[in-house]
């Protein structure tokens, strides 16, 4: 379990970002090479397409200690595989609605479209998302206690 508080006791959220290989991951790269800052607690997982993200991945991330999960893909219409992100959009909408229905904070999950050219946007999106998650606090409703307890 990673430490989630800074030295002065502030909450530092752990964020998992699923980034599509063709747009958003390149966007993140651009943000990096352009020396734009975004929180270091955003862990990027590269996926071939935003529609590769299975609902299980998102729940797994929460189980393993994520406080927020964001999925980034190409803008609708720009998918490398033509239509992947359209399917992802429907799936994620329904999944997020279901999580909301189960009472899980609806702002813990987000989908953003970030192109390879939008380094600035990537950093803005991440900063904004991290801010929201920090406000929400630690993920309690979808936590797995086994991953939080010490074994001895």
């Amino acid at each position: 379990m990673p430490v989630k508080t800074t030295e002065n006791g502030e909450f530092k959220p752990l964020i998992v970002a699923f980034c599509c290989n063709w747009c958003s991951y390149a966007g993140a790269d651009l943000a990096g090479t352009s020396r734009l800052s975004y929180p270091a607690d955003v862990k990027i997982i590269r996926v071939p397409c935003s529609c590769r993200v299975n609902p299980l991945f998102i729940l797994r991330a929460f189980q393993r200690g994520a406080d927020g999960v964001i999925i980034c893909g190409c803008h609708p219409g720009d998918c490398h595989y033509t239509t992947g992100n359209y399917y992802a959009r429907r799936r994620m909408t329904l999944l997020f609605s279901m999580l909301d229905y189960l009472g899980i904070e609806r702002k813990r999950t987000r989908v953003e479209w970030v192109s390879a050219a939008e380094g600035v946007r990537f950093s803005e999106v991440m900063n904004d998302f991290a801010k929201h998650i920090t406000e929400l606090g630690e993920n309690k409703k979808l936590e797995d206690l086994r991953c939080k307890k010490s074994l001895d």
């Binding site: 189980q63 429907r90 909408t93 329904l94 999944l95 609605s97 987000r110």
Partner: protein, 328 residues
């Protein structure tokens, strides 16, 4: 249902006699007054044990996945709501339509033995269905119920009395409508709660789950040859309620995997030994799909693309959810 019971049995006997089928999929009497076992009858003689009454609630269409692959033709009895599952399975190419003779049969709502027992009925000796009345004879005395009060939850918001598929129909003369409420009524009630109330509600319901997997195994939409939860490498504890997270995850993922394919047949809630209202998860998806992507009835036909295998360029953005009003 006595009138059509005779007609169905007669029909089944005739099908055996003229050799058009070699098996009939129906229900058999079990050991108690209310036990009805889904059964394959292989001859007219075996039909002795055939039964069709208020307790024949099981949706038989899932058995066709196995049975339609056997030799010969099989006749199946489908209640109106089962015919949706049947269509959906045909659409997904999980059953061999050519090997099946589908008989649509009438239904006047199915009884819920747990509702009867919840009224304190013990040691049942016999149950009499008499029009709008159900009379239960027990060792401790008789008890009379209004039929409508002891119907399965799903029958109170029946999808309709009409079959969406079938090669032949056996219907009663006086058809009873059991619908008393809109099927999204309970979903709306939950939506109107605060997130914390909803969380509490689902936590208390899902914490009852014993992970027997009955909901999955009975579900006609859960027809994967190998379920993701049976995958040793998936790292899920599929056999025990080890943790609140596992309980949530199983039910979220299961509902998601059948979203757009679930016909709302209600079998999951019926078989749940803990009476978890699992249909409320499926109905939420159905309601969302209807509202976001246009009315869609899974299993209404065998051609239309399902909402999750389709898209429109102008679909709603997922931010729609987080922009909803209310707290959080």
């Amino acid at each position: 249902m006595q009138e059509i019971f005779g007609l169905i049995k007669e029909k089944a006997e005739k099908l055996f006699a003229d050799g058009s089928v070699n098996r009939v999929l129906g229900w058999k009497k079990g050991e108690t007054e209310y036990d009805r076992i889904p059964s394959v009858f292989e001859s007219a003689e075996e039909l002795e044990e055939f039964v069709y009454d208020g307790f024949c609630a099981a949706n038989l269409s899932k058995y066709l996945i196995r049975e339609s692959r056997e030799d010969g033709k099989i006749a199946v009895l489908l209640k109106p709501c089962d015919s949706y599952s049947f269509n959906q399975l045909v659409k997904e190419h999980r059953i061999k339509r050519d090997n099946i003779y589908a008989i649509g049969i009438d239904c006047d709502g199915k009884l819920d033995i747990d509702k009867i027992k919840a009224a304190g009925v013990k040691a049942i000796q016999s149950i009499e269905e008499n029009g709008s009345e159900v009379i239960v004879h027990t060792l401790y005395g008789d008890k009379k119920f209004n039929r409508q009060d002891v119907l399965l939850e799903r029958c109170l918001c029946c999808k309709g009395k009409d079959h969406v598929s079938g090669d032949e129909f056996i219907l009663a003369q006086n058809r009873v409508d059991t619908t008393v409420k809109d099927r999204f009524e309970d979903v709306r009630k939950l939506e109107a709660m605060t997130p914390d109330e909803r969380f509490e509600f689902w936590r208390s319901e899902l914490s009852k789950c014993i992970r027997c997997n009955a909901c999955r195994n009975v579900c006609p939409a859960c027809n994967c040859i190998k379920c993701v939860f049976d995958n040793e490498d998936s790292g899920v504890a599929a056999k025990a309620n080890v943790d609140t997270f596992e309980e949530n995850m199983f039910h979220i993922i299961r509902a998601f995997h059948v979203a757009g394919r679930c016909t709302d047949c209600g079998e999951c809630s019926r078989v749940c030994p803990q009476h978890i209202p699992l249909h409320l998860l499926n109905r939420k998806f159905i309601k969302d799909i209807d509202e976001l992507y246009g009315e869609f009835k899974a299993g209404a036909d065998t051609e239309t693309k399902g909402p999750l295998t389709d898209y429109r360029t102008g679909d709603a953005e997922p931010s729609l959810i987080s922009d909803r009003g209310g707290s959080n």
